[in-house]
């Protein structure tokens, strides 16, 4: 078990480095592919008024002439020890962990990320609770009453839920529940939980529900398929032969086995969602990582985009690591592997 954990941890760290290198390479190459030079990149830091000489010096100081691996090395080093950015009119310090320095706001990216993580986390956790509960419950009921009206209604509804994009359902939900009925908050009213839990809940309720509708639709279908498969297994017949109550057969033997594969998908979904529920946060103007990424992309603020991308990758890797470790707890057969 201990070796299993150590091996998974090691793999996760290696994976993070690979992801960071790949991401960095993309962000290094893309501007150059569309014709950017070290000078034009430096211009963004010093402003257009600077003389070409100054720009050249700054580009040099910022390391834009260095080969890609040297720049990647600097970027990694900054995460651990911080970095100084000299953009002509003075040196600005970006303390460790420095995940980049915005040339537009002249601020390090990391503190921004820190203030935005709780927002996205609130959104993701609340939505996940809702979608796991409703998705799994619907899936189980549908599987147990296969072919019934309930089953067909739930599956049709969930097909719609899976198919409709969030920027459509979100907009419709805002229009109906917020602007017409005035049951929920409109976009852009997020309040941190620590300041006012009531306001926090009120602002997040609609985004939670909209996200949950989409995800529970998918989870209902997955749970239903998993349950139907599991209920046909020999060990379900054994459980029944022992005289277990039908509820225990379905839940403790059936659902228990059907949920395990769902854990993997949940890990991926949840990791991705914390990494940036870009569409949801944009639709509901929630100041989370997704909205941050959206704004950074709109403003062409590459260091921010790079920082938030790394953050997203980090969450996906961590979520998968947690799932892998949980798997060993949930499925005893994994422990030997």
């Amino acid at each position: 078990m201990i070796t299993y954990i150590i091996r998974r941890l090691f793999a996760a760290v290696v994976l993070l480095f690979i992801v960071s290198a790949a991401t960095f390479a993309i962000f290094y190459l893309v501007p150059r592919l569309v014709g950017a030079t070290p000078e034009t990149l430096a211009t963004r830091y010093v402003g257009r008024a600077a003389t070409p000489e100054t720009v050249g010096i700054i580009a040099h100081k910022l390391g834009f002439y260095d080969p890609i691996w040297v720049q990647y090395g600097h970027w990694i080093k900054a995460i651990f020890v911080g970095a100084d950015y000299d953009y002509g009119s003075g040196i600005e310090h970006c303390p460790a962990p420095c995940f980049g320095y915005s040339f537009i706001t002249h601020q390090p990216v990391w503190p921004d990320l820190l203030t935005r993580i709780p927002v996205t986390l609130s959104l993701a956790v609340g939505a996940a609770v809702l979608w796991v509960f409703f998705g799994v419950a619907t899936g189980v009921l549908s599987a147990l009453r296969r072919g019934s009206l309930l089953d067909r209604a739930a599956m049709s509804f969930s097909l719609a839920g899976v198919s409709l994009p969030i920027f459509f359902t979100g907009m419709v939900a805002l229009l109906v529940f917020s602007y017409k009925l005035r049951w929920t908050a409109s976009g852009g009213t997020y309040t941190p939980f620590t300041e006012n839990p009531g306001e926090w809940f009120y602002a997040l309720l609609l985004p939670w529900c909209v996200l949950a509708v989409q995800f529970s639709a998918q989870y209902a279908r997955l749970t239903r398929a998993g349950m139907l498969e599991t209920l046909g297994e020999d060990y379900i017949r054994t459980a029944r032969a022992k005289g277990l109550r039908e509820r225990d057969v379905n839940v403790r033997h059936g659902l228990r086995a059907a949920l395990t594969p769902l854990l993997t998908i949940f890990g991926l979904d949840f990791g991705l969602l914390i990494g940036g529920a870009v569409l949801t946060e944009a639709v509901f103007s929630l100041p989370g990582l997704g909205k941050y990424a959206y704004d950074a992309i709109t403003n062409n603020d590459l260091p921010k985009v790079l920082g938030v991308t790394m953050m997203a990758a980090f969450f996906v890797v961590v979520a998968n690591l947690v799932v892998d470790l949980l798997y060993a707890v949930v499925d005893p057969r994994v422990r030997l592997g």
Binding site: Y235, K242, G243, R256, T260, P332
Partner: protein, 344 residues
């Protein structure tokens, strides 16, 4: 004479499907006393497994049509409340399945699964149930049961798993035990041990045992009575000695001929039964076995047209469903089939 412990009367189980009605069990009757063993023999799809699932009420209730009567120790099970049957299941009647790996839940330890089986029917603490599980594992011959009780099924060998299955089935001292192909998935060496174990435990608990198998060797070893099934019907029934010494149904002769026996000189000359088991949706007219039967010409056309009745035959409590006249059947067995089997 008192009522038999288990009695089936004209049991019919059929499944309506899009292609037609599958008549898995079609009018089966037999009875079984405590302490006795019945072997049910037949090819795949002869209805033997559906019969056993039907007794325990484990057939798919939603799409099966069941009629007839199943009496277990004075209780009729087909018309009984499902909740009542559930309380008997695993308690008064238990079942051992064919493949112990797929029949045990991979996520729960062996001990947990036995404890679960015990606690459904006994209101005891987990600790007491666990002790019972350990005792039971020891009884079925698992070494160091107090340690192995926390192992998972995948950590057991095939034979150990079947022992654990038996322990799980026997933990509530069932008076009726049904074993559906209990040794088919096991190595030959382990098969003998498991059969031995089942025999020993049956004597200890004085339970009624039904062994469902296609392996006549297993039946020869354990059964008091033998019931041969074909196309959902009983085609021959009798004491084990009768079935092996003077069988009267051509299908039973075929089964005996296709059984490898070490005491025969030419092991390689097995005689397979020609043809395939019949479709249960569309059984052949007349005797279901007639398309595969070498003696059909001796029935004067009856075999093709009239379904034969189950009637008394030569041995004691011996029943056969065949149109070939009794004396001729006995003569064919003695003069044609038996010498051929012995010469093989």
């Amino acid at each position: 004479m008192s009522e038999p412990f288990l009695e089936l009367k004209n049991l019919k189980i059929s499944f309506p499907t899009d292609d037609g009605v599958v008549r898995s069990v079609d009018g089966l009757s037999f009875s079984l006393e405590r302490g006795k063993t019945l072997g049910i023999v037949g090819e795949s799809g002869s209805g033997k497994s559906v019969t056993s699932l039907g007794i325990l009420g484990l057939h798919n209730r939603r799409n099966a049509d069941v009629s007839g009567e199943i009496w277990l120790d004075g209780d009729e099970l087909i018309r009984a409340e499902p909740e009542k049957v559930r309380k008997l299941r695993g308690n008064k009647m238990a079942m051992i399945f064919q493949d112990p790996l797929s029949s045990m839940h991979p996520y729960y330890s062996v001990g947990h699964q036995i404890v679960e089986a015990y606690r459904v029917h006994h209101n005891v603490s987990k600790k007491v149930a666990r002790k019972q599980a350990v005792d039971m594992l020891g009884k079925v011959g698992i070494p160091q049961p107090d340690r192995r009780v926390d192992d998972y099924p995948h950590q057991f060998s095939g034979g150990m798993r079947q022992r654990a299955m038996i322990a799980m089935a026997l933990v509530n001292d069932p008076q009726l035990l049904i074993a559906d192909e209990p040794t088919t998935a096991l190595d030959v060496t382990v098969q003998a041990q498991i059969l031995d174990l089942m025999h020993k435990l049956q004597e200890e608990f004085n339970s009624a045992l039904i062994i469902i198998t296609h392996d006549l060797g297993v039946v020869a070893e354990l059964a008091d009575d033998v019931l041969v099934m074909y196309g959902g019907k009983c085609i021959e029934f009798g004491a084990a000695a009768t079935i092996f010494e003077r069988p009267e149904h051509p299908y039973t002769w075929g089964l005996l001929g296709s059984m490898p026996r070490i005491d025969r000189p030419n092991l390689d000359r097995l005689v397979p039964i020609p043809g395939l088991p019949p479709s249960l949706i569309n059984l052949p007219s007349g005797c279901a076995f007639h398309p595969r039967c070498a003696y059909e010409p001796r029935t004067a056309g009856l075999g093709r047209t009239v379904p034969p009745e189950l009637v008394a035959a030569g041995g004691s409590k011996h029943l056969v469903r065949c149109h070939v006249p009794t004396e001729e059947r006995q003569r064919i067995w003695l003069e044609e089939v038996k010498p051929k089997l012995e010469a093989q």
